[in-house]
């Protein structure tokens, strides 16, 4: 199921990596990290992107599904 994923990596990646990394958009942050964000069709595609990040030797810092985090908060019923 397609979902929006957000992967944060160490260092600034340039825009030309977008096509290589599953078409995710590349957002560089001032703290020296890059956030790759966009739709990922399924788990296999997600693992493909993670594999490519691994192959670049870029440290993967975190991974989020922003939409679900909001949903989870609501489900708590608090």
């Amino acid at each position: 199921m397609t979902d929006i994923y957000e992967l944060r990596v160490q260092g600034h990646l340039e825009d030309h990596w977008s096509g290589w990394l599953g078409g995710l958009s590349v957002q560089r942050h001032e703290d020296g990290t890059t956030v790759l964000v966009g739709p990922v069709v399924d788990q296999a595609a997600l693992h493909g992107v993670i594999g490519r990040i691994r192959d670049l030797g870029v440290p993967l810092l975190s991974m989020r599904r922003p939409a679900h985090e909001i949903g989870d908060g609501g489900d708590d019923g608090r």
Binding site: G11, H12, L13, E14, D15, H16, W17, S18, G19, W20, R28, G32, T34, R52, R54, D55, L56, G57, V58
Partner: protein, 917 residues
């Protein structure tokens, strides 16, 4: 360096490049602290070098293996790539790599791996390990880039290899992510040495040595510290930085700018490096980045120029991340990380150019006889028509050895591309068998539809249909018939198999050994299923002869097993024994390891010895079969071992044990193309009859829908019907004649007629024996003796014994009457003396058994052994001796341990041999 036999040729000329230990190409730094750790690690089983791309894993291992004369060690090396996820291919590379260091090993393994139906991989590895065990020199095997492997069967077989590694051998796995091997267990046992990212990072001292001594940059300690901090000691980062600074005046300012930037280290530095290259070289790098391996002619084909050789040489000279893949500097590859950077740039800067480059690469590989790479690049170019055409041309060869690779490629093609191609469609259908009957059927229908419509058009007009391989198209109707026969066989449709296999043999040209062989084998199996055994043998043997002409020897033993089974059913026991023995003799003549499926042949021989009442030999063969292990035979024949063992347990009067073994046989049963002519459930019903558990046996007959007046007396149900007859005779005896035997005799008459028509001597003898017993049960001894006499005359030349003896006391009495009378009198006397077999078994000790026990049994243990032999279960023994079940089990375990046996039957056989009972 690679053997020049056909095996290497079959893999293509690129094999060598995968087995080449890459030279020390990047910098000149010796990493002595890591070399020392590798040397220490080599005392263990496995070294795992797990670290990101660009950490210097390959270079380090190459240095370790190439090192100083003192530390130089024999080694095989494989540079893996994603195409190696096919197990047969993977292990072929492993064996070929080992042979570069140990040319004396692996010949047999290679021939097995290249056969259409390779044996279980554990079997291949066991043979290989046994050969490697013979060496006394240390040997290392390096699997580089193991992270590209994601095929689970490969991981589990690598784990098996690690588990059974010869003591002088060491395995090294270099990878970017930890492999799914049992690392925790290996770590816990001290079998694992590890080098990880933190180990591989350059220390400040190493960085200083590299930058200032090897690269001659003359940097201050502070500058080195800044570079180490910015790159975190990442080897590729420091190497790129060094390249960027070579010939540059303002090194400190470069370092400051680099340190103050957040960009991904490789991006930043590759830009620096590329900017300092001439435009032509930059262009060349981007264009050729689509290749996994580069040679000058291949590069020229992509770029349309002729400067490939010069540029490759200058790249190597300047340390620009090209890795030579052979000694002749013919093939190279880019450093993986560098290649990824180039590819991402090519994709971003020239998106429309990339498919064109792949297309050119595909064309070059096709011209140079490398169809696999040609297909791969055609798929990467999304030129599906081209990929389909290549696959069609190479299909036959690929299907014969790499069915799963064919499937992977075919699945990458859009449906409509395959549906327009009848030849490819038929290959696809074949590749889908026997796992996916529905999909195979659909593919076959598409192809047949195309052929039908084509036959209505003039020959030159192919309409919507695409054909690349005209020769294959010419013989396609024959090929379709083979696949149809295969499909029918998989569906247990005997008439359909006979029809289509016969049609295939009519249609296929004489020289088409592969398809004709397949058709012959299918026809043979179908005739076997229908009970026409002579025809089955003829067709099957012809098919085997055809397959032999293709040079594939993997069918020899599986074929022998089938043929001997048919001969046994025909009552030609001696010929069956010869067929079983021949491949074993051939293998012994060739020397070396026993061939795969040998365990099945032993089971077959055991069954024959059993019939001849040579129970020692029967047990011995089963034990030998067992010693060959779980993978010593084909999985679909495994259950037969348990059936054979159950028979022996029965002969020893241990019927409960026999039932346990038959239960296990049922659990192990898997459907195969061979007809199930002796269903295990029916064998169980026979044991119930002997135990007097007639209600259960009748339940089985009811469940199977069997009755004495069945019209359908087909061969596939013959064993069940004979079982039914035996059951009904037993019921008549037990209810003292209340149930009529007339219908049983009628059933036996009809079975006899069918067996005579099919000339199935084995069945006929058994049917006559039952007729004799049926007459006897009715008090008609004269007619009983007449039937028995006929059975004896048929049985004597082939030495049947157990068919008579297993019938017990009633038969013993009849044989007593027959002894000394008529033409079969002498044989009857011999059989009569064969009763009471367990006693005789004791008189001939098993050769494999030593005459004495190292540790004698206690009186209590002997007592328990006797009760086991009497057929008592643990609980019953406990009750009998007034001790706990736990204590009984402990005694039994001790008894088994002292006798060196694994279960009851063996214990009894062994105890008999030792005269303990």
């Amino acid at each position: 360096m690679v053997d020049s036999s056909g095996q290497a040729a079959a893999l293509g000329p690129l094999l060598e490049t995968k087995l080449y230990i890459p030279g020390r190409h990047l910098g000149l730094l010796s990493r002595s602290r890591l070399i020392e750790r590798l040397n220490q690690g080599a005392q263990r089983k496995l070294t795992l070098v797990s670290a990101p791309a660009g950490s210097g894993k390959t270079t380090l291992l190459a240095e370790w293996l190439g090192g100083t004369a003192a530390s130089k060690r024999a080694a095989g090396w494989i540079s893996l790539d994603p195409g190696d996820n096919n197990p047969a291919l993977f292990w072929t590379y492993v064996v070929a790599a080992l042979r570069t260091a140990r040319p004396d090993v692996g010949e047999r393994a290679l021939s097995w791996l290249s056969s259409a139906r390779p044996p279980a991989i554990e079997w291949v590895l066991t043979s290989l390990i046994n050969e490697l065990n013979a060496g006394d020199q240390p040997l290392a095997l390096v699997l580089d880039d193991y992270h590209v492997i994601d095929a689970e069967p490969i991981h589990s077989a690598v784990a098996f290899l690690v588990e059974h590694l010869p003591p002088r051998m060491h395995l090294v796995v270099a990878t970017r992510s930890d492999p799914p091997l049992p690392l925790a267990r290996l770590r816990g046992r001290g079998d694992l040495a590890e080098l990880r990212a933190s180990d591989l990072r350059f220390t400040s001292e190493e960085a200083a040595a590299f930058l200032n001594e090897a690269m001659g940059l003359g940097l201050s300690a502070a500058d080195v510290a800044v570079l180490v901090a910015r790159t975190e000691g990442w080897v590729v980062g420091l190497q790129l930085a060094a390249l960027s600074m070579q010939g540059r005046e303002e090194r400190p300012s470069f370092i400051r700018a680099f340190a103050g930037d957040h960009r991904y280290v490789v991006d930043y530095l590759v830009d620096e490096v590329l900017h300092r290259q001439p435009d032509r070289v930059r262009e060349f790098l981007l264009q050729t980045s689509v290749l996994d391996r580069l040679s000058a002619p291949l590069c020229d084909a992509l770029t349309g120029r002729d400067d490939g050789r010069g540029i490759l040489e200058s790249l190597e000279r300047d340390n620009l991340f090209v890795v030579p893949l052979d000694d002749k500097r013919h093939w190279f590859r880019y450093h993986h990380l560098f290649a990824d950077v180039l590819r991402a740039r090519a994709l971003a800067e020239q998106p429309h150019q990339v498919p064109v480059l792949h297309l050119r690469a595909s064309q070059w590989h096709e011209r140079n006889g490398l169809p696999s790479d040609a297909v791969r690049h055609a798929l990467a170019a999304a030129d599906f028509g081209r990929a389909a055409g290549l696959l069609e041309r190479a299909g036959r060869a690929i299907l014969a050895t790499r069915q799963d690779a064919f499937l992977d490629w075919a699945r990458a093609l859009p449906d409509e591309v395959i549906r327009a191609r009848p030849v490819l469609g038929v290959y696809y259908a074949l590749a889908l068998l026997p796992d996916d009957l529905e999909a195979a059927e659909a593919r076959l229908r598409d192809a047949e539809g195309l052929l039908d419509r084509a036959s209505e058009r003039p020959e030159a007009d192919r309409g919507e249909m695409v054909v690349v391989d005209d020769e294959a198209f010419e013989s396609l109707p024959g090929t379709v018939a083979v696949v149809r026969a295969y499909l029918a066989g998989a569906r247990r449709d005997v008439p359909g198999t006979v029809l289509f296999a016969g049609r295939a043999l009519d249609l296929l040209p004489e020289g088409d050994s592969l398809w004709r062989g397949a058709a012959g084998a299918l026809l043979g199996l179908a005739h076997w299923s229908s009970g026409d055994l002579e025809e089955a043998c003829r067709a099957f043997a012809e098919g085997m002869a055809s397959l032999r002409m293709t040079g594939d020897v993997s069918h020899e033993i599986t074929g022998a097993f089938v043929l001997a089974n048919i001969r046994t059913a025909q009552g030609r026991l001696r010929e069956a024994a010869r067929i079983y023995e021949r491949p074993l003799e051939l293998a012994a003549g060739r020397g070396g390891a026993v061939p795969p499926s040998t365990a099945d042949l032993y089971v077959g021989l055991s069954e024959l010895r059993y019939e001849h009442n040579d129970l020692d030999a029967a047990v011995r063969y089963l034990r030998s079969s067992q010693e060959l292990g779980e993978h010593g035979g084909l999985p679909e024949n495994r259950y037969r071992w348990y059936v054979a063992m159950a028979q022996i347990a029965q002969a020893e009067g241990n019927l409960d044990r026999a039932l346990d073994l038959l239960d296990e046989a049922q659990r192990r049963y898997v459907r195969s193309p061979d007809p199930d002519v002796r269903p295990v459930a029916a064998v169980k019903a026979r044991v119930w009859v002997r135990q007097g558990r007639l209600a259960e046996a009748l339940g089985w007959a009811h469940e199977r829908g069997l009755s004495a007046d069945d019209d359908d007396l087909s061969y596939l149900r013959e064993f069940e019907h004979i079982t039914l007859a035996r059951l009904l005779i037993a019921r008549h005896r037990s209810d003292r004649g209340d149930s009529a035997l007339r219908e049983v005799r009628a059933l036996l008459d009809r079975l006899q007629q069918a067996a005579e028509e099919g000339r199935r001597l084995g069945s006929l003898i058994e049917i006559l024996v039952l007729q004799a017993l049926a007459h006897q049960a009715q008090g008609d001894v004269t007619r009983g003796l007449a039937s028995l006499e006929r059975a004896l005359i048929l049985a004597e030349p082939e030495g049947y014994v157990r068919t008579f003896v297993d019938e017990g006391e009633a038969m013993r009495a009849l044989l007593g009457h027959a002894a000394g009378r008529g033409p079969a009198g002498a044989y009857a006397r011999r059989l009569a003396s064969a009763f009471g077999e367990p006693a005789r078994l004791a008189s001939t000790p098993l050769p494999a058994v030593s005459a004495e026990l190292a540790e004698p049994l206690t009186r209590r243990e002997v007592e328990i052994l006797r009760l086991i032999a009497a057929g008592l279960r643990s609980k019953e023994i406990a009750d009998h001796l007034c001790i706990s079940v736990f204590t009984v089990k402990r005694h039994i375990a001790n008894v088994y341990g002292k006798l060196g046996v694994g279960h009851r039957t063996e214990a009894i056989v062994r105890a008999n041999a030792l005269r303990l009972l």
